[in-house]
Amino acid sequence: MANTADGQSGAGRAPPSPATTAGDPARDTAGGQPRFSLRPEVGLKKPSGRVAAAGAGEASVEVSDGATVPDPVFSCHDVNVFYGAKQALKNVSVDVGRRQVLAMIGPSGCGKSTFLRCLNRMNDTIPGARVTGTIRLDGRDIHDPALDVVQLRARVGMVFQKPNPFPKSIYDNVAYGPRIHGLARSRTQLDDIVCSSLTRAGLWDEVKDRLASPGTGLSGGQQQRLCIARTIAVQPEVILMDEPCSALDPVATAKIEDLIDQLRGSYAIVIVTHSMQQAARVSQRTAYFHLGELVEVGETDRVFTNPRHRLTEDYITGRFG
């Protein structure tokens, strides 16, 4: 998946210098910039014609900067997040497309989880957190005082890093959302929701005989699929996943990734991951964050084979991070 860094990485193991990538026109432009400068005006957010043209050879169908998509479900503009005096996210503008997976990668503390938590306003629950900028869900500002945050969270589900089923039965875990939002009018209807959600999460066959046993008694991978079933039981439009596989073994991870691929048919998915292979496997678009800034976003294939920014390339070729 990653760039063909073979020829360069040997030479470039020493302090990476612009010279190591000399000769490749696509990287030349990036290499010409100061190495760790992240000022937006150097062309990170809205790459000027120069950068766009450089990559145009392979990705001529791409929109100029890759941050926007037609008919986005989420449209974010200049999002900043502050935790007290510390700025965790700087001027992030990106769209989330319908029926596709957007992967967010980057080193720890780069702000990808912070950004994810902006989309369902979970940052509201952290004392001292402040979010600025506009985030539109289907064209409507999610910070609009007339919009109930509870409604927002029903439309934007979230799966967490650590599987966190409630200390209730498997059935009650999945029925939790439909119950609090009053989605089922009768017991049979609720049964149907629980059954179909568990089926879609690929868990039904494993738990259909023990719906009354506690959700906490399942294995880690099953718990995470239970959490996904719980999330899709309220029919959200978007599912946010915050490193959903980092606590799971490879087999459970593969199951979750298959599941993500299936869910993509009905939902928009935003996934934060530390695994670049996972990002390459499950996503259609990839966003690379660094120190609170969105460095690069575009089609996953393009980002991994032909990164436009030096930082992205260094990260995906394993030079740091």
């Binding site: 369902n120 927002l152 029903a154 200390p167 939790y176 959490c227």
Partner: protein, 281 residues
């Protein structure tokens, strides 16, 4: 002497002193328990639970005092428990980081260590004087005020033990905080909260001073909450100071009874807590 020898001696000295201090503390604890058992067991009989407190010189039991203690403790926890639980919920969930919470926490700590006689006097002013006479309900209110800060503290501690991830999961599902608290957090912290209530019961069931100013005592059977009511601590206080041997004997039995019930409550609480923590890890 080398420096190492000095350090070793200092170590032995500190170890020895703390050992002696522990032994002294335990000695008095066991001395009290032993005296209590020796004097109290003699008076333990069936009539203790069937007969009323007697006049000097004749035989009797502690039925009215036991009944009064149970009733006032229950009413006290019924008033103080819910208030304490809700206040603890506010501190742990709604107002976790607010300045108001810091103030409440401080005031609660002060109340937690306030001498119970002050609380007795407060309720005396508040209820006894207004009503014009002592009453069981005044005693229950005094006990409620003592139970409240204990419940506040334990509830807050227990709710803080519930993993943040579980609360986040409910919030992210679109649940209002109150729904999260009742559907997810309370069930998860249930045994801890019950333990806190048990400890509060243990705390108030032995209080004497506040009852002296509020419920006073009653030599006869009474179930009226608006009238003075007999209770174990005050009966023990009166009977133990009396010159009559049969009263003194009853006082010993009552003291043993209270101590044993508090012991049982504390052990139950401890077992519940350890099974709770054992199940979590």
């Amino acid at each position: 002497m080398t420096r190492r020898t000095v350090r070793r001696l200092v170590n032995y000295l500190a170890l020895g002193l703390s050992g002696v201090a522990t032994a002294v503390g335990l000695f008095f604890l066991f001395a009290i328990l032993w005296t209590l058992l020796r004097n109290g067991l003699a008076g333990m009989s069936f009539s203790l639970f069937t007969e009323m407190t007697p006049p000097p010189g004749s035989s009797g039991g502690l039925l009215n005092a036991i009944y009064g203690s149970v009733v006032m403790t229950l009413v006290g926890i019924l008033i103080g428990g819910p208030i304490g639980m809700l206040a603890g919920t506010y501190l742990a969930e709604y107002g976790r980081a607010s300045r108001l919470s810091a103030v409440i926490r401080f005031v609660n700590d002060v109340l937690l260590s306030a001498p119970s006689i002050i609380i007795g006097l407060f309720v005396y002013e508040l209820l006894v004087i207004r009503m014009g006479h002592f009453s069981a309900i005044a005693g229950a209110v005094a006990l409620a005020i003592i139970a409240m800060p204990v419940t506040v503290r334990t509830t807050e501690d227990m709710l803080n033990l519930v993993p943040q991830g579980m609360k986040d999961a409910s919030t992210a599902m679109g649940a209002y905080p109150w729904r999260t608290i009742t559907s997810v957090i309370y069930p998860a912290a249930r045994s801890g909260i019950v333990t806190g209530l048990l400890l509060a019961v243990a705390r108030i069931s032995g209080e004497t001073a506040p009852l002296l100013f509020t419920a006073l005592n009653n030599q006869f059977w009474s179930t009226k909450l608006t009238a003075p009511m007999a209770n174990l601590p005050v009966v023990i206080y009166q009977f133990a100071l009396s010159p009559y041997p049969n009263w003194q004997k009853l006082a010993w039995s009552g003291a043993l009874l209270i101590t044993l019930s508090i012991l049982v409550l504390s052990i139950t609480a401890r077992v519940v807590v350890s099974s709770l923590q054992g199940g979590r890890r």
